[in-house]
Amino acid sequence: MRASAAAAVVCLGVVTWTPAPAQDWTTGGYDAQRSSWVRAEGKISAASLRKPGFQLVWKLTLADESTAARVVMPPVLLDLMIGYRGFRALGFVAAAPDRVVAIDTDLGRVEWERRLGTGAPPAGGSPACARAMTPSVARSTNAALPTLSGGAGGASRGAQPARGAVGEPGEGAVTLAPLVARRPEAPAPAPAPPRPPAPRPTPRPFPIVYVLPSDGMLHTLNVMNGSDAEPPVPFLPPHANARGLIVVDTLAYVATSRGCGAAPNAVWALDLGTHQVTRWPGRVAGAHGPAIGPDGAIYVTTSDGRLVVLEPRTLKPRTTYRSGGPAFSSSPVIFDRGGRLLIAASSRDGRIRLLDSRRTTFVTTPLSSQTAADALASWADTDDTHWLVASAGSRGSALAAWKVIQQDSVPRLDPGWVSRHMPASLAPAVVNDVIFALSRGAPSSAAVVLHALDGATGNELWNSGSTIAPVAHAGLSAGGSQVYVATGDGRLYAFGFPMEH
């Protein structure tokens, strides 16, 4: 390992990060760390899924009838938006060709739709680049490590219980008492005048969503109606195969692969303030693209077995770790254990490789699958046990969960559980303490099935049966007590506990 990287590793000590509040699913893999772990008060928990009630709440067909383009991606979410049409929970679905559709996720209604880019495939384009016609969608993401605790909660959200009271005659209501208590006996000395804060740009009066269609221009849209909040900005060459769009502070990042369009395989950065574009060449692995550390550093896994840490904005390499094994197959997942930053990824030999950022060598799991997972999920239970979940078994026919154990400050991965047979299981997502995963049957035969597993044991709590039509491609996102399945036939399914409207 290069001396500079070794020095960087030695300099890293136990650090603390200010945790971010619970957030929406804003990018591939949910958050900047690509954990795919939604943790928020809500209805979904292992306990609630043991009881009846979780079911399909709505489904939509979003295929473009005019072009027969069918690919849709799992939505990026905004759980609460107060706009001129009212309070809304929105999902932003990327759909081919070059469309973004905003869905009222309570009602399963289209709120608005925009068609961006050219909508036309590149001349002579390869089938592998056809996906480039599906735009990338993301909302601003907080790079800070989120709070670890999750779990279902009630709807009261801190509201105080009501009670009756009576004041003494002539004393007014009891609600006057806190005012009397607050009155000081003597006037306090005047505080020193505060230092004027550093000037900050005026925040927008509405939330936005970022969309990167096939023309390579980054669009910033008003979530209320899809109108342009900013003029589009050049980001990528046209028809690049982009994935993992993520926006942190004033920087947008995305990975390109397969050499589609005129875009080399690389990680790209766009400074939203200066509109400057930089790139780092590399064959990026994983479905979610790069992960972002709490200090804004970019973590990239490559198909030649490297984990590379890049500087924010400039994308200058900061540190490179070599796995000593074959190519990585998944994006990195970042999490914190006792103040140490740990990074995990799966590789083509079916192992999960785990790195303590203070060290240089990876710890690995035994061989578990002949099919490499292209995404991991990372979560922690209320006993403070951290888990990694990936597809495993022969030809990816089950999910396997591993516990991250710290012994003498050295991490290791202990076997947790292996799920029941789930053929061709796709990248999982975790909601509180429930693992959601899709399995798909052989093409054109068995239905795609959404499974809900107890995160602590792997036991199946629920599955969608034959609800989802047979289709080759599917993906998951989750939030607001609902789980969304987007399928390659242009459908979007929402599962949850129905609420009377």
Partner: protein, 526 residues
């Protein structure tokens, strides 16, 4: 017997008996409007009206208008007028209109001449403008319409008002002098809603957490000086005309935005019935109801926030209320939500708000109810925004885009009760709570901009500055209570708009205040 036909002057019998000599104008006036919403049950029905009717409505004209020197605060200006048909003043029997200005002012006006009799300004030096205004939702000042009560002396009345600093004042209607020492009541700078007076107890409730105070229901027991409170509840109790009170001494109010979790003592997006313990004078919860879709209402900010109307129906004491979702609920005060507290007697489909918006749509303010000459019980609901595409009535008066009044008849069908749509009025620019007199329904469009968000400004549009700029003017209508036909309109005579105002009706006159501080008196003279 529920006194929902309005309060009667103690001198009525004397006035009726002294018919040998031609009565003076004040002596003719025997109807009062002593409280917001017309009566403690908030039916907004002037049951003692003898002049205004469906046949005389065409003769309504502007009798007078007075511009008062009250400064508006945010969008608040003048509160609904109160009317005492006959007050013994130094100048003799006088019909007096009492108007409250948000900036801690009371005004008394001679109803016959439109002349100011007295002005009272409360001392708010302990609050004043040293406390920053908290914005549109929390304007400070007086936000609760006072209530007037008779005294033991015929012709003498007392105004009960809560001033900006939370003090309860008792003021002589005749001359504006204090009838009793001011008393501590509630925290200052809050936002109480219209006061009610029932069996010597003042009732009100607060909302929006103004002044940093919890949203609670309050009672002031006039005999003991004790103040009861109950809450917090929801995001605030903000029915326009305050609480409605049943014959069993229970006050009812919607609880506004909040979660519904009665097992934890949390009562958002519902209706609560609260009663004073006659021994301790504390307030106690005695009943509660939440719609079965309360979780949805909370998620979409479709508060249950309308002042109910309580009325007798064939020996049962029933109640109607509504919320921003734009449904009307019919309940029995014996048990407003049934055994599970989630089952009303009847729930209408949505009248409006097809898009589930939290602003500029839904039922806002208060209900109204009256009985016609045939004994039919009517229920009226004002709503904002377009009519729901699926809501129909046998009589409709054109496309509704900005608001209207929906009228229902209470009927028995299939062993139960239901509210049967009867008519929908013409379009009104933000239809406000109506009032009824002699079969004529008086309604108005406030002309207020109720926009709270725009595509460009987001919630930044919800400012007094923006909304005042985009408000227009109020229009008053007289409608046939049986059909909704428009009998008369004020047209362009009212030049300003209003926010959180209301109608008052008595003795051939209808009163409405506007943002520019003007009180309008429309009516007919005998």
């Amino acid at each position: 017997m529920i006194p929902n036909r309005g309060w009667r002057s103690a001198r009525l019998a004397v006035v009726l008996g002294a018919l040998a000599a031609p009565p003076s104008a004040a002596q003719q006036a025997h109807a009062d409007w002593l409280t917001d919403g017309g009566n403690p049950q908030r039916t907004a029905w002037q049951g003692d009206e003898t002049l205004l009717s469906t046949s005389s409505a065409k003769d309504i004209r502007l009798l007078w208008k007075v511009t008062l020197d009250n400064a508006p605060r945010e969008m608040h200006s003048l509160l609904p007028a109160l009317v005492v048909g006959r007050v013994d003043t130094r100048a003799g029997p006088t019909q007096v209109v009492v108007v409250t200005g948000v900036s801690d002012n009371l005004y008394a006006i001679d109803a016959d001449r439109g002349v100011l009799l007295w002005t009272k300004r409360f001392d708010h030096s302990s609050v004043g403008d040293t406390v920053p205004r908290s914005g549109l939702m929390c304007p400070g000042g007086i936000t609760a319409t006072p209530v007037i009560g008779p005294t033991a002396v015929p012709g003498r009345y007392t105004i009960y008002a809560v001033s900006w600093d939370g003090t309860l004042h008792q003021v002589n209607v005749a001359d504006g002098e204090d009838a009793a020492p001011p008393a501590k009541f509630m925290p200052p700078n809050g936002k109480p809603y219209a006061l009610n007076l029932w069996k010597n107890v003042i009732y009100t409730h607060t909302a929006q957490g103004c002044g940093g105070h919890p949203n609670v229901a309050y009672t002031y027991d006039l005999a003991s000086g004790k103040v009861g409170s109950w809450g917090p509840a929801g995001g605030g109790m903000w029915g326009r005309t305050g609480p409605a009170i049943s014959s069993h001494d229970v006050m009812y109010t919607g609880t506004g935005d909040g979660p519904w979790d009665p097992e934890r003592g949390i009562y958002g997006n519902g209706i609560v019935g609260i009663q004073q313990n006659t021994t301790t004078k504390a307030l106690e919860l005695v009943d509660y109801f939440a719609p079965s879709n309360a979780e949805w209402l909370f998620k979409r900010d479709l508060d249950m926030q309308v002042t109910p109307a309580i009325f007798d129906y064939h020996g049962r004491e029933l109640m109607v209320s509504a919320g921003k979702e734009c449904r009307v609920y019919l309940m029995d005060t014996e048990s407003i939500g049934g055994d599970d507290h989630r089952t009303p007697l009847y729930r209408t489909p949505q009248l409006c708000n097809e898009g589930f918006n939290f602003a500029s749509a839904g039922i806002w303010g208060a209900m109204a109810s009256w009985v016609d000459a045939n004994g039919a019980r009517w229920v009226l609901a004002p709503f904002w925004g377009p009519k729901h595409s699926l809501f129909k009535a046998p009589l409709e008066h054109g496309e509704v885009r900005d608001g209207a009044i929906a009228a229902f008849k209470l009927e028995e069908r299939d062993g139960g009760l239901q509210l049967t749509p009867a008519w929908i009025s013409r379009d009104m620019n933000r239809a406000e709570p109506p009032a009824v007199a002699n079969g004529a329904v008086f309604a108005y469009g406030s002309g207020e901009s109720t926009t709270q968000a725009t595509p460009d400004l987001g919630l930044g549009a919800n400012s007094s500055e923006f909304r005042i700029k985009h408000s227009t003017h109020a229009v008053l209508y007289a409608l046939d209570g049986q059909t909704g036909d428009a009998l008369w309109s004020s047209g362009a005579q009212i030049t300003s708009w209003n926010h959180w105002a209301g109608l008052s009706i008595a003795n051939g006159r209808v009163y409405l205040g506007t943002f520019d501080g003007t009180l309008y008196c429309f009516g007919i003279t005998p």
